[in-house]
């Protein structure tokens, strides 16, 4: 793992912290930087980066954890699907504990007897489908630009192998419309965005052009501590110089146009639509739904879903937290009622969620 160690070199870190301090000194106001992506939130917590920064720099976590932005309604639908006869409901582990409208979760549903299985890749579903031909394998398709292509490949493979007992309940989302919604939010006060490196290898740097247009700094950043610190420094430089652009810190693999082949595959399966983000509300063109030609793999076409009246949990401030308006400790439920063992909102469930990261690392 020499490759990883390079990006955790304490000497490099020291040098970057000095540069950050210098840049921060040139800025005479508090700076708020939003990390859009949950993987950044996680790494910042895991390496203890937040308290290494100068006092006038505030890091807030944005809507980039796919679990956290999954709406209560989507969880309710997942619960409904998992209860159907002859269904194996496959999901990534983080979804298990996310509460739906009435506090139920897939984890509890499993204890009630539903066949809910944790998979670590969508390809495992092909195996399940082949091993249980008499059952329908429903996979909860969750994630942003980085995970969607792998799910798309799985669906494509199933089609070629003529596997018919598999479908995807897609709650996939795309990142740029959410950023646009954030920028348009008058309540928001963000000076710069740490943009996710791996999403950017897919969609390219062009997708973030609206950020500098709105007068904010944008740096596409990797996930190692050294990457993140360098990204923060580059944001501060843009702010200090009052010159905004989409800069690329994470040059390992980001092209302006992105990964065209992967994006083409995703587009051949899915089209964008308005979907609900937990705590934020509906965002136009931000969700991925199956195109009609792939109806055979669309769970929502194969199963009828009743009209579920979903409600977000009362008092959960996830929405404000996802928009960077509040920090987790400003939520009245934080730590008192809402803990990782008894999560009230999804931000407390996901290992990448702002509230659970904040709980663990503060």
């Amino acid at each position: 793992m020499k490759y990883i160690d390079e990006y955790r070199d304490p000497a490099l870190v020291k040098g970057l912290l000095a540069k950050i301090r210098k840049a921060a000194d040139r800025i005479d106001h508090p700076v708020t930087i939003m990390e859009i992506c949950g993987s950044h939130t996680y790494a910042i917590g895991r390496f203890g980066i937040r308290n290494m920064l100068p006092d006038n720099i505030n890091l807030v976590s944005g809507p980039g954890c796919p679990v956290c932005v999954t709406s209560a309604r989507d969880v309710d639908i997942a619960l409904h699907l998992s209860r159907q006869d002859k269904v194996i409901f496959a999901t990534f582990g983080d979804m298990l504990r996310v509460p739906g409208s009435n506090g139920d979760s897939l984890q509890r549903q499993r204890a009630e007897g539903s066949d809910v299985r944790v998979v670590s890749s969508s390809d495992e579903c092909i195996e399940l489908a082949q091993n249980f031909p008499q059952k329908e394998i429903i996979m909860m398709g969750i994630g942003f630009e980085t995970t969607t292509p792998t799910v798309a490949v799985t669906v494509d493979r199933c089609r070629k192998k003529r596997i018919e007992n598999f479908s995807v309940f897609s709650v996939h989302k795309v990142v740029p419309p959410a950023i646009e919604a954030l920028i348009a939010d008058p309540g928001l006060n963000i000076d710069g965005f740490l943009c996710p490196g791996h999403v950017s290898t897919m969609i390219g740097s062009n997708a973030y052009s609206m950020i500098p247009e709105a007068g904010c700094a944008a740096v596409i950043t990797g996930f190692e501590p050294v990457d993140i610190l360098e990204g923060i420094w580059m944001i501060l430089e843009q702010i200090a110089n009052n010159k905004f652009e989409v800069a690329i810190q994470y040059s390992r693999g980001v092209k302006p146009e992105g990964n065209v082949r992967a994006m083409d595959l995703v587009q051949s399966l899915f089209k964008t639509d308005t979907v609900e983000w937990r705590g934020i509300g509906p965002i136009p063109e931000s969700g991925l739904v199956f195109r009609d030609v792939y109806a055979a793999y669309d769970t929502l076409k194969k199963f009828s879903v009743p009209d579920i009246q979903s409600v977000d949990v009362k008092g959960c401030g996830c929405g404000d937290i996802l928009r960077g308006i509040k920090s987790p400790d400003q939520c009245a439920l934080f730590r008192k009622v809402c803990t990782p063992a008894n999560p009230i909102g999804p931000c407390m469930v996901s290992s990448e969620g702002s509230c659970s990261t904040y709980y663990k690392y503060h």
């Binding site: 203890g48 290494m52 582990g93 298990l96 204890a111 009630e112 008894n342 690392y361 503060h362």
Partner: protein
């Protein structure tokens, strides 16, 4: 909203497991032996001090690189006795077998139990077998109990930990959890990862020979090093400071953790323990460990702090700080 049924997570060795013990078992069984909540109960019969422990093994898959459910059961029992200062003497073995389980597999498991017991100097002196219909268990589950005699004079207990104590670990973390993950998942990884399942009684006996001032020992099994330290810090009400940089870890384990997004601090071990002792004793302990086959990569990873908030503070490899708490969620279920 409280839920009134058992979740898989209750068996994870994390927060929910602790709650289960505190809310259901302790109130009903309450007695001073149980309330210590250490790896074994400490009992006196006549002038002799004994330790007594029990554990059940449900690992999936049953065979994994570095061992199988049988050797694991023996090592687990031996270690729970040894960290309490006991010399393991006798143990039981109860089997719950699923209809259709192959004789060949059972023979191999029993054979390796016998080998492991011989290696650790413990005798399997009583047993039981039940067979249940297909689907009622997954292949084979094993329950063991063990009894050992305590000759060490000091009080090996979480309560004996003093501010300033050195925290010593006898080697790399996460090997068992990572080996199980790798055996279970079809990861297509070449990397060689072998469980660290091993009996620690020989090593512990040597440590207790060179130092009469060991304060506490615990084996870091389910929940990993992170969970055991968090538990110790809470129940001793001391802060524990550890340095990420000093914690030994195999390159391959670290690799699999990077790929799967796991934190090796919370991956299970089956041959690792932490030792708390005064700093002056640390070098003796390290020397003994390094000279023993199950302690070659031993290191001082931190110390018990002065103040008592019951927190584990990890200094990260790049110089930041984070708090290590009891894990929640199912990390990797059925690892032991």
């Amino acid at each position: 909203m409280k839920y009134d049924k058992i979740l898989l997570e209750h068996g994870s060795g994390g927060l929910l497991s602790n709650e289960l013990v505190a809310n259901i078992f302790l109130p009903h069984f309450s007695n001073s032996f149980l309330e210590r909540l250490e790896d074994s109960a400490i009992l006196s019969i006549g002038n002799h001090k004994f330790c007594f422990t029990t554990d059940s093994y449900v690992v999936s898959p049953v065979f994994f690189p570095g061992g199988n459910i049988g050797s694991l059961a023996v090592h687990g029992t031996v270690n729970d006795l040894a960290v309490c200062g006991g010399k393991p003497l006798y143990m039981s073995a109860g089997y719950i077998l699923e209809e259709g389980f192959p004789f060949a597999a059972l023979t191999e498991i029993v054979q390796s139990m016998a080998d492991a017991a011989r290696g650790a100097g413990i005798k399997i002196v009583t047993g039981d077998t039940k067979v249940v219909s297909r689907g009622a268990v997954d292949g084979i589950f094993i329950n063991t109990s063990g009894i050992g005699i305590i000759e060490y004079e000091g009080d090996l207990s979480i309560k004996s930990i003093k501010p300033g104590d050195a925290v010593i670990l006898n080697g790399t973390i996460g090997d068992h959890g990572a080996a199980i993950m790798k055996a279970r998942e079809n990861l297509g990884l070449e990397a060689d990862i072998v469980s660290d399942s091993a009996p620690l009684n020989g090593l512990i006996a040597e440590i207790l020979k060179v130092s009469t001032d060991i304060h506490c020992m615990r084996d870091a099994t389910r929940g990993g090093l992170g969970a055991i330290l968090a538990e110790i810090a809470k129940s001793a009400n001391v802060d524990i400071n550890i340095n990420e940089q000093d914690i030994p870890i195999c390159e391959n384990v670290r690799g699999i953790c990077e790929i799967l997004g796991l934190d090796p601090l919370f991956l299970a071990n089956e041959g690792k323990m932490v030792v708390f002792c005064p700093p002056a004793e640390a070098s003796k302990v390290i020397t003994v460990m390094k000279g023993h086959e199950f302690g070659r990569n031993a290191a001082v990873i931190g110390n018990a702090g002065e103040s008592g908030q019951g927190r584990v503070v990890l200094k990260t490899s790049i110089g930041g700080e984070r708090i290590i708490d009891l894990p929640t969620g199912e990390l990797v279920p059925r690892i032991c």
